[in-house]
């Protein structure tokens, strides 16, 4: 075994070690540098409320620059580019669920892209334990950027703005949804 081979091997080993460290850092990038997906809609929502023209023009270069962006970013920037349309479907979906009355009034949780199940059972995403809630009571689903509420044949019903929900129904922003003694709203 020549000196040169050993030298190459030992430098190679150090490179392997660092490659491993960087592989982990790369896999963790969303964790270390923050999630882009969650922050963009919030910025768009705030600026769109104050000055929609600015938001649309600001979103245009961002959309152009993000040619290599991942799918969720592309999806959220696309509706922002067409924000001057009045279609409610084109707006980014709600990102927060805020409890407006009930035992945990004022609590809120962030909505992801997955569905959120609501019910008494411990495997629900939002567990509500009171006398009126069924084990699997309802679920919130994201259908083409619109949150829909579906009642899962609950005993005491799910109420959207006071009306009992029987088929999957779109949930507009800031509209009370009641399950048992708990009422929540979706906000951006």
């Amino acid at each position: 075994m020549s000196e040169l081979t050993l030298l190459v091997l030992r430098i190679g080993f150090l490179i392997l070690l660092w490659a491993f460290v960087f592989a982990i850092v790369y896999a963790l990038r969303s964790d270390l540098f923050g999630q882009k997906v969650r922050r963009l809609p919030a910025q768009n929502g705030q600026s769109a409320a104050s000055a929609p023209v600015v938001a649309a023009s600001a979103a245009a270069p961002a959309a152009a620059a993000s040619a290599a962006a991942t799918a969720p970013i592309a999806r959220t920037s696309a509706p922002a580019a067409t924000a001057d349309d009045d279609e409610p479907q084109a707006e980014p979906p709600a990102r927060r669920l805020v409890i407006t009355s009930g035992a945990k009034e004022g609590m809120e949780l962030e909505l992801g892209d997955d569905q959120l199940t609501i019910g008494r059972s411990a495997d629900s995403g939002l567990v509500i334990r009171d006398d009126y809630t069924s084990t699997h009571h309802a679920r919130l689903m994201l259908w083409s950027d619109q949150w829909m509420i579906q009642d899962l044949d609950s005993t005491n019903g799910t109420f959207l703005n006071g009306k009992r929900v029987s088929i999957p129904t779109p949930v507009p922003l800031n509209t009370p949804v009641s399950i048992g003694t708990t009422t929540f709203e979706l906000r951006r």
Binding site: M1, F13, W18, V21, I24, A103
Partner: protein, 471 residues
């Protein structure tokens, strides 16, 4: 019969419900992205371990010895078995902990094996073989922990038993007959030819106790008390537990003659109390108590005094030549200087000049042969491991789990700081083990249990409800 009738009614009411829920339960098994990522990283980790062993053999003997490589590949199979078990029992566990722990463990084995080769040890007397056997034992125990503890909140129920177990384990080496004094510290127990350091397991038990205790006691620790100079001072009666832990830490310092362990226990408690209450005053009180105790100890206890002298004045010939002086520390520094930026290469340095190069000074041995570049990669791996632990705590849904994750990660980070800081003359040298790297079975078992608990906690996070509304 009044007692049975409500149950009967409940049973008839409940009976239609399970069939209903079962009919709508969705049982699609999604491919587990996290586990696939873990598998890729684990294969890289095993590659690093195998390469390190092969390089050691090439560097020392100039040829490969397949025997040890076969034994190491058996360990690799065990790590893969652990990965397969995680696929079944903890599918959503963190994918980075197992590969990082495996890499560090493998690097440690390679370095210890290298020191064996330099000393000419082989067979059961060699530390490398023992370290491999202990790794296997530790991994099996970690696997058992993951399988048996399906819900970490069970541990909260046993918090006072954990406290008792922790204190008993701490005091066990002081019992005459089984206690064993090695290198001046009375930390080991000996049963036949089998030695064990019970303090290593005690740190896990104490982390469980602190987490359970602080969840219930933190309101009285954080909200009550007077404000003095902008600091919220706790009431005298709330100081009780912190004083008990301080006394225990000082007892270890004085009677077992171990500075590092007492620093570890007390630091763990201070960090967990700070995380649970958010009060800076606790940190200041704790640091004041420890520094006060250590200052008194450095004046009165000769071995602590010697450590301070070796730290402050290492290159003084009198200190260097003294019994228990700075010879070992300075040899470690010379080793790292010899390694320089890229190191001498595995198997090509002379790490055995430093006494205890396989345990306390494994960092300087690795620094000599892998250089600053390699040492920083190792420190980077520790950083990532601990960052994952803190992230698991941050994402946790219940306070006990959060505190436990933070406490267990802090045990690891404090050990790394104390050991690496000690051998590089940042702080006085104290005898703690480098997690996963240093030779020592009890430390390996304890650190693998910590890894297992972190895996279990991270798996729970994704199964928990996002929000619970309880009447």
């Amino acid at each position: 019969m009044p007692p049975t009738s409500p149950e009967g009614a409940a049973a008839t009411q409940a009976s239609p419900e399970p069939t209903f829920t079962r009919s709508i339960a969705i049982t699609v098994r999604q491919p587990s992205k996290l586990r696939n990522l873990e598998l890729v990283l684990l294969l890289v980790a095993l590659g690093i371990g195998g390469t390190a062993l092969a390089l050691v053999q090439l560097g020392v003997n100039g040829e490969l010895d397949p025997g040890v490589l076969w034994q190491a590949s058996a360990l690799g199979m065990l790590a893969l078995g652990m990965h397969v078990a995680l696929r079944i029992v903890a599918r959503d566990a963190d994918p980075f902990i197992l590969p990082i722990a495996t890499t560090l463990n493998a690097l440690g084995i390679a370095m210890i094996y290298r020191i064996d080769l330099a000393r000419g040890d082989s067979g059961w007397e060699s530390l490398g073989i023992r370290q491999m056997v202990w790794t296997a034992i530790a991994m099996v125990i970690a696997l058992a922990v993951i399988v048996v503890i399906r819900n970490h909140r069970v541990l909260a129920r046993y918090r006072y038993i954990a406290m008792l177990a922790g204190i008993v384990l701490l005091l066990l080496p002081m019992l005459p007959g089984i206690g064993l004094t090695l290198n001046g510290a009375r930390l080991w127990i000996q049963l036949g030819s089998f030695t064990f350091q019970p303090g290593e397991i005690a740190k896990i038990a104490l982390a469980i106790f602190f987490a359970g205790y602080l969840v219930t006691a933190r309101d009285s620790l954080s909200l009550v008390g007077r404000r003095v100079l902008g600091l919220q001072l706790p009431r005298a009666r709330d100081l009780g537990p912190i004083l008990i832990i301080w006394v225990a830490a000082m007892a270890v310092l004085i009677f077992q003659r171990d500075l590092g362990t007492s620093l570890l226990y007390f630091g763990l408690f201070i960090v967990m109390i700070y995380v649970s209450t958010g009060r800076l005053s606790w940190v200041l009180i704790g640091l004041g108590l420890f520094l006060g105790g250590a200052a008194v100890a450095s004046r009165t206890l000769t071995y602590v005094e010697g450590r301070f002298a070796a730290w402050l004045d290492s290159f003084n010939p009198e200190v260097y030549d003294a019994q228990g002086g700075s010879y070992q520390l300075v040899q470690g520094l010379f080793g790292m200087a010899q390694g320089g930026l890229v190191g001498t290469g595995l198997g090509q340095g002379r790490p055995t000049i430093t006494p205890l190069a396989e345990s306390d000074y494994i960092i300087t041995a690795l620094g000599e042969e892998l250089g600053l570049v390699g040492l920083f990669a190792i420190l980077g791996l520790y950083l990532l491991f601990v960052a994952r632990g803190f992230r698991i705590g941050f994402n946790g849904t219940d306070d006990f789990g959060r505190l436990l994750a933070v406490g267990l990660s802090f045990v690891v980070v404090l050990q790394v700081f104390v050991v690496v800081g000690g051998v590089t003359r940042v702080i006085p040298l104290t005898g703690l083990t480098t997690p996963f790297l240093a030779a020592g079975g009890s430390a390996l078992v304890a650190n693998w249990i910590i890894a297992a608990l972190l895996l279990r906690l991270s798996d729970e996070v994704r199964h928990q409800p996002r929000l619970v509304v309880d009447e």
